[in-house]
Each structure stands twice: as C-alpha cells, then as structure tokens.
Amino acid sequence: MDFLVTLKSPISALGQQTITIIRDLGRIFLFFCEGFVLIFTLPLQISKFKQQIYFIGMKSVFVICLTGAFTGMVLGLQGYYALLRVGSTGYLGAAVAIPLIREMGPVLTAIMVIARGGSAMAAEIGIMRVSEQIDALETMDINPIRFLISPRIAAALVCFPMLTALFDVVGIFGGYLTGSVLLGVNPSLYFSRVESSVNMEDITEGFIKAIVFAVVVVTICCFQGYYTHMRTEFGAKGVSLSTTRAVVFSCVVILIVDYVLTSFLL
C-alpha cells in the first residue's frame, strides 16, 4: 500500500500542478481580454495612455539605444570574423541586419522593457493592491482593470514595435561602426547589403513578434501585481515576490514564444 501511495503522490502532485498552471493560463488570458476590450470603452483614457507611452516608451529610449548599439557592434564583430573564414565579408550587412530584425531586436527589446518597465508595473500595481487602493477603486465603481491595466496594454502595443524598430536601426549602425569603421568593410557595400537582403517579410516578422511580446510582457507583469493578494506571502514580501515572478516568467515566456513564433513564421 505504502508503495502505491508513494507512487501515486508524485503523479497527483504533477496533476495538481498541471491543473494550477492551466487554470492560471486561463485567468491570465481572460485578464488580458478584459483589459484589451476595456481600452475601447468610452470615454477613452487618453491622458493615462499618454502617461504610459511616456513611461514604457520614452523612458526606455536610452537603454534601448545603448543595448541596440552594442548588440549591433558585437554582431558586426562576430559576423566579420565568421564571414572572413569563408571569404565573404561583403555580406556583413546582411549578417547583421537579418538576425537583428527577425530575432535580436524584438527579443532584446522585450527583455529590456521587462527589466525597466515590467518590474515597475508589477511593483506599482502590487503596492496598490496591498494598500487597498484597488479596493478603493472598486468601491468608487471605477473598474480597476480599465483604470490601471487597459492604458498599459494600449501603450505597450504602441511602444514595443517602435522600440524594436529603434533597436534595429541603432543595431545596424552599431554593426556599421565595428564592421566598416573598425574592420574596414566598404560602407556603401555594407548598407547596400542591408537594403538588398532585408525584405518586407523580415520586418513583418519582427513587428509581429514585438506585438506578441508586448501582450505577453504587459499581461504577465500586470497580472502578477494585480493578484499579489492571492499569494501566501502578504505585504512587502508579496509585492517583491510578484515583481520577481513577473520578471522571470515574462523573460522565460518571451523566449518560449519566440521559438514557437519563429517556427511558424519561417
């Protein structure tokens, strides 16, 4: 009998865990749907939308430029030495631009925004939850999801593609800096390769990824903060756990979703 119980317990634990994960996924999906639909209810929350654009978008510009530049530069370096072995350094423009636009741009932008904006979102909403500010909204008959989450979803959907585009452009110039200025690849050849090799499909794929990542990041981060009170830890500890989970979960999910999307879009 004991053997049977021991045998069954990991199976039941696994089953329990699976049920929890599926239920959470369902709740996260419904949370996003509600937040998304409420973006369009009147009156539109223009000022809150603008504030979030500033917070998610404007305030991330510097860090995106910085990471974009260095990613492009390292791609330039690595690409140059790899292409040198097959004697085709002239293709450096393509070697930098294509992975940047299709892969590195959307993924790294998403991860940078998680680090800067996503963690802040989870912490801010989490603190609002533990200090009863969300309850206060409910008692005033103000829908907290519409008030807090919808503007963030709308802003993320606008900001992510734009930040990704910025990352790509800065990255391409970063590649030019190492490839052409430092290592001597012909600049006009570099840019003409960029122009000729990158087609609309690459850019579309990049943007699709950026939009999907926006949904993933903002939903996970807001969800973790919004349901801070459902944890076993309360108060500051609950908020810190929510923030950590928001960052870790969204980074992991970004990489998984990136693989799935790439395999579908290729």
Binding site: A136, T139, M140, I142
Partner: protein
Amino acid sequence: MSTQPLIELNNTVKRFGENTVLNGVNLSIFRGEITSIIGKSGVGKSVLLKHIIGLFEPDGGEVLYEGKPLSSMKRAEKKALKRKFSYMFQESALFDFLSVFENIALPLQETTSYPEAEIHRRVRDKMHQLDLHKVDGKYPSQLSGGMKKRVALARALVTDPEIVLFDEPTTGLDPIRKSAVHSMISDYQKRFGFTGIIVSHEIPDIFFISQRVAMIDAGRIVFEGTPEEIQKASDPVVQNFIQGLESPHDDLTGVASQSLGQKRLQQEMSRLQRHEIPFSIVLLSIDNLEDIDRIAGHVACQTMLKNFANHVKQNIYITDTCFRYDMNKILVILPDTNSSQAKLFCEKLSRNMENAAVFETPDFTSGLCYSVRAGIAQAKKDSQLQSLLENAEARQQLFYECRI
C-alpha cells in the same frame, strides 16, 4: 423609522483559511441612521464593513439590500447599487500617484459627467470644510496621518453618497479634528440624510452622533440598540468593553466624561436624600453650533466649543462638576446651591464671557451669531434624575448672545 432595514446581514459567515472571522453575524442597518460598530481590534469589524459594500463575499449566510440578496443581483443592479455607496478605508487608501486634489476629484471625474468647473467647486468646498488648506498639489506620501484621513474623508463624501461606510475615520486625529470629523459626519447626515455605518473606537464620542450601536465580539453581534441602551446594558462583555475605552475626561473639551458626570449626579442626589443638602444643575447649550459649523468650518466650530467649555471650567468652584452632556451641551452640577444662587452663577458666567477667549479660532469669520442658552433646575428630594434634566432643558432661556 421604516420597519424594513436598508441593509441586513443574515447569519453571515466569513472564514480566512482556518480562522473564522464572522461566525453568523445578524445585523440590520436602517435608512437615514448612523449605526456604529464597536468591538475589540481584530474581531472583524472591517471585514463586516467590506461585506456590506461587496468587497468580500460571505462563505455562509447572505447580505440583503432592501430585502434582496446581493448575491442574486444582476451586474447592472450591483453597479447601480455601488454608486450609492462610499467607503472610507482605515488606512485611507489614497492613490499615491495622484495629488490630494486629484484624489478627491477622482470619483467625480470617473463616475459623473460634471463639467470641470463644477468638479473644482465641489472639491474645493470639501477641502475647505475639512480644513485642508494649501495641500492641493501635495502627494499622499507628503501628508501626515491625520491629514491623510481627512483627504480620505473628503474623497468619500465628495460624491454626496446615500450610504457611507467609515472604517475608523478618526483614529490618529487630535481631539479638535476628531470632534470636527464627528460633527461633520453628523451634520452631513442631518443635511443630506445619508445612511452611515461607522467602525470606531471613540467611546463615548461616537454615541453622540449615532442612532444605533452594534457591538461585535467573537464573530457575532453581542449587542444591538441605541447608544442609551448600550450604556445601560447589563452584559458584562459590553460593559467591560465600554468602560475600558471610556476616559474620565472628554477628549475635546477636557471636562468630565458623561459617565463620570452621571455618577456625580447620582452622588448628589443621594446626598440630598440622606442629608438634605440641596444642589442645582445648569444646562448650557450652544444654540447655533450648526450655523457656526457651516460658516466658520468644522475645526473653528469645535475650537469654539472647546473654548466655551474651558470658560465654564474656569468659572466653577473646585467642588462643582461640569461634563459634556451632548454634542453642544454642557451640564454643570452645583452642590450646596439653590436655584437663585445658580442664577447668580449664570450671571457671572455671562459677564465674564466678554473677556473669555471663546472666539479665538483659527478661522475667525464675521457674520457669526453666537448664542448660549441656560436652563436651571434645583433638585428636590423626591425628584427623579431624568425629570430633573428634563426640567433644566425645558427652562432653558437665552443667556448670552454675541454677534460678530
């Protein structure tokens, strides 16, 4: 009073894990009344309040609104009901990313279609009444605890709600502001007739403004009735709780508390009956406290009341006692005094009023009429305390008037 309660908690049970916080609460809240919920810390007063507004759903029993269970209401019905409510949180729950002005204006901006100018007017109005000056642009983190409470109160009342739930509205406030908040709640309730439910530890102050009091203990309502009834309740749990919280002095005025005053009255009565030592009482009431409140603000009004009580205190002998009888009434017990001597005392009090610092208020405004009435009654050997007090009340006449 209508017989149908506005809100009814019917055998409400709430558990948090193993811990049963509400264990079959039965409570009726009637329209247009202020009901106070008292009880020790951590017995579930706030949880009870959150059930009324629907922030918590009961694990057992139900909450009825006008006889209809909240759980059976449709979404639109619940929404319409929520608009009638307002809630003041214990920890204020101010939005830390909004300024004081924006916090108070938020419910109006989000749930009404008032033009911006009207919203400004209403918010300014509430801020003035609650003595919130020059803090519009400040953020909650820059405010003191007491000021946060007042901002939260302003936010709860700015929409002129039908039902207001106050979760410890005066904890952490100084005596003047505490009384100002109580008088404001009472004044608003009289003017707009809202139904108020207050969770409070302020005994006996809360009895002045409540029509009903309910005491919760061990997850159940152990007493429900009028403030007079609870003060006379024989249940040792209720008595221990009330006496434990009641201080011998009234917080605002510094004069004796009501229970101490009542005891003194009984002592004098027995002295009269046993040794035939006469005594008189003088009931002083400030007539137009509500007008002063409206014109000069709640804080100025409470300061005036405090100053007046001080003036009375300074003019009595060491053997005399004065205590706060009601929101605007002070009762003076004069031992060894007949009614003509009591009259002399009143005249002295009136004469000295000119020099008294009654009008030294922070918000001194012209256009005020300050009038005090005094009623004198001498106790007789066979008279009952109640009839003595009624006598004094019936004989009240204008004793001092001042127009500024």
